[in-house]
Amino acid sequence: MNADWRYYLPKIEKLANSLGLSFNPVDFEAVPQSFMMEISVYGLPVRMPHWSFGVRYIYQLIQHRMGNSRLFEVVFPGNPGHAYLAQNNSVAENVLVTAHVLGHADFSRNNIMFKRAQDQVSEHIVEHAANHARQIALAIEEYGLPRVEAVLDAALSLEQHIDCNHAVRRPRYPEYEASKALPRDDEFSKRFAALTPFEERDNAGQVHRKRAAIPPHNEKDLLWFIAQYAPELEGWERDIFLAVREESFYFHPVFATQIMNEGWASYWHARLLREADFLPQSAYVDAIKCHSDVVKPYAPEQHIALQINPYHLGFTMWEKIIERDGIEAARVIMQQDDDFSFVRNYLDENLADELQLFKFNAQSTGKIEVVESKLSDLHEAMLAPKYNFGAPSIAASHVHVDGSLELQHDFKSDGRGLDQDRASKVLDYIYRVWRRPIVLHTIDDGGAQLEIRKH
């Protein structure tokens, strides 16, 4: 067997192309495990500094020291894509990892969520993020760490609060309310317009336009809203909010398609290895061992898990789909779905039985009990943590004349109120950039209306 995994790379790429995968070129780089760990903590190879990443880093370090995690690769979509491989991977492992990465590259080039994000954020998120980091380093030099950190505290704590249904570059709201009816040039319309009370007409006889309320509707994209409408935000502070928001637009499809994406990459690394006749038998066996470690449902020596391994679930689902409907049908699903539709449409009764999925209730006392469940219950329990980018649904509902801000928590759709302590702390962050009174409406434990105020 050749001692360098790079020897096999072009062969795997060729094989992948011949099997119908379509991906942007990927730059592969082997880096130390410590660097891999940092990339996974920051989510991007170069990212803005913030103390909260330091906390995650220490957790990751502890986990790593305890031997609970091993990172084989980290991949960033783009054109070209960037993939980092751990230097201490064996050659066989790296062959598997390159095949896995090509699966991701195929997914991220063709899945609609990724495509949309790349159309909007650009195909160069890695470079953008590095640029954001630089921009923030400059801001720290100019305005000092405490001021920049206050802005980052607020922006990063709202990183999930974006609205992907709007564009990344999104215009401000119209300043005036749209006139209710289109003026028609007939006799009736003219006479009707003349009925408008005199004081609402200016000298030319025109009807005054009415200033639109801000926001005109509940606004879920808090990062955008604060960037655009905070009464006293300075230019550089707005830039930081928009930088964090742009990175969130990049992270969103990764979050929303995790099961599909990891499953797809796992399906392809398995298949590519199986069909790689250029690979020595021993390398294949080593790589397949590694594969079964990655897609196993539970830890060794155990026969039950309280968390679903997305690699395992996604892998199994894709195998079923391709077996039943063929690869072309699977590619269409890969292009068009996200985890919500994927799980609801393709995790059926038979598969759930076969995988021995069950629903459980965990009491705050520590007791965990398996409960009876319908398929739809399983789906919802699995997907609930993924709704709304994993965050409570909070919208800006009104800005008053004095600049004070009202936030509304949609407790009806979330099913319960907010954690008050944390909400209050987040409002502290926001208050430091909004700089006018803020009130947040939610409900308490007992379901009674609750207002949290900062002023």
Binding site: V55, A130, V370, V426
Partner: protein
């Protein structure tokens, strides 16, 4: 962050040229240090509360260890429900109990978080730093020395030279010289003797300031353990405050009941006595020691007296006489009333004694405390007045 740009723009670089390059720095470590700095700041804000209770004395160490929790970067979260749902995989059928109630979890369990909160670690603070912070925080002025005219020389670092003792080789500086030289002569040796730089020492004159502080404590039966702890903690910070000013500070510990004895620091805080209180015995002992060892012409003298306020009324005159004499040679005489019933009126026997001395225009004052949180008020009070009076 600028170093990181090269990672991106030169991503065409192959492993060999950048191998090891990644190990040169760690953003994770940088941000973790920043986190710790924030924890320090947070601790510092509450420092008086935290260390008022900490056992800083006796251990002899010059640091205080404070247990802290990792900071949490807060996000909006939903209320933790009484019952959470999840999906698992494996051999479980409805009704199976996978985990029993555990007595330890309960309410706190929901408070655990993903990115912070859970893990505790210990930060170590230098006592000197703490004192600096506190003095800054309380905006306490520096003390004015009364005596201290004599000069003294001391060695301090000053500048670099090309020759010197090996122990004073400045490696960083030498390396910098080598780098500079190689920039103009690329073919020169990687390191030469000319690059070496040694730290130089110079004699610098400094005012010699010596001081002595007398810590006098009433250890009669009426002083409770809590009173004593208050006195002890106050004494500790008073000493630290004086040390900030005086490079040579002697401490003298005197305890008294109806008799007075000098103790070393360790025994001083353990000693207990019985029976009544005769304050003048303690003050006389202090006078005795001053006469023997601490000439007022060479030493700045401070006295702090801690007591619950009781004294025999018959002792009033002799105590007043002794205190008056001390106050006329001392920089300051402070009285700390420690008692659960202490009030700022200082209407006790000893309180009145100090008040009358202060009213004669001498540098004396009193303050009453009854719980540890008051310590800082007392420190602030004394150090402010001391300067005003001195």
């Amino acid at each position: 962050m600028s170093e990181f740009d090269s990672l991106v723009t030169h991503s065409g670089l192959k492993e060999s040229s950048i191998n090891g390059w990644y190990e040169l720095f760690s953003r994770g470590a940088r941000d973790w240090l920043r986190h710790n700095e924030k924890v320090r700041d947070a601790v510092r804000d509450q420092l008086p509360d935290i260390i008022a209770g900490a056992d800083v004395m006796g251990s002899g160490s010059r640091t205080v260890k404070v247990p802290v929790k990792m900071l949490e970067h807060y996000h909006f979260k939903l209320n933790q429900p009484q019952q959470q749902q999840g999906v698992g995989q494996g051999q479980g059928k409805p009704g199976d109990v996978l985990q029993q109630d555990s007595p330890n979890t309960g309410k706190d369990k929901g408070k655990g978080t993903n990115d912070g909160g859970g893990i505790e670690f210990t930060l170590e603070f230098k006592v000197d730093d703490i004192v600096d912070w506190l003095w800054e925080e309380m905006q306490l002025p520096n003390l004015k020395a009364r005596v201290g005219k004599s000069e003294e020389t001391d060695w301090t670092r000053e500048g670099w030279d090309k020759k010197g003792a090996r122990s004073r080789l400045d490696r960083r500086r030498s390396l910098r010289e080598a780098v500079k030289r190689r920039a103009i002569q690329p073919d020169g040796p990687s390191f030469s003797d000319d690059d070496l730089r040694f730290r130089q020492l110079n004699q610098r004159e400094q005012p010699s300031i010596q001081a002595v502080v007398f810590l006098l404590m009433d250890v009669s039966g009426s002083m409770t353990d809590a009173d004593r702890k208050l006195a002890k903690t106050f004494f500790f910070w008073a000493i630290q405050g004086l040390k900030r000013q005086y490079r040579h500070l002697d401490t003298v510990f005197v305890a008294h009941t109806t008799e007075a004895f000098e103790f070393d620091e360790e025994k001083f805080f353990q000693v207990t006595g019985n029976g009544g209180t005769v304050t003048s015995t303690g003050l006389n002992k202090v006078q005795e020691i001053i006469a023997e060892r601490y000439s007022p012409s060479r030493y700045n003298i401070y006295l702090f007296y801690a007591s619950d306020g009781d004294n025999y009324p018959e002792d009033r005159d002799s105590a007043a006489k002794a205190l008056g004499e001390i106050a006329s040679v001392a920089g300051y005489c402070g009285y700390l009333e420690v008692s659960s019933s202490a009030t700022q009126n200082l209407n006790t026997e000893v309180g009145q004694l100090f008040r009358s001395i202060a009213s004669q225009g001498k540098a004396a004052g009193g303050f009453a405390i009854n719980k540890l949180e008051d310590i800082w008020e007392a420190v602030r009070h004394f150090f402010k007045h001391q300067v005003a009076d001195a």
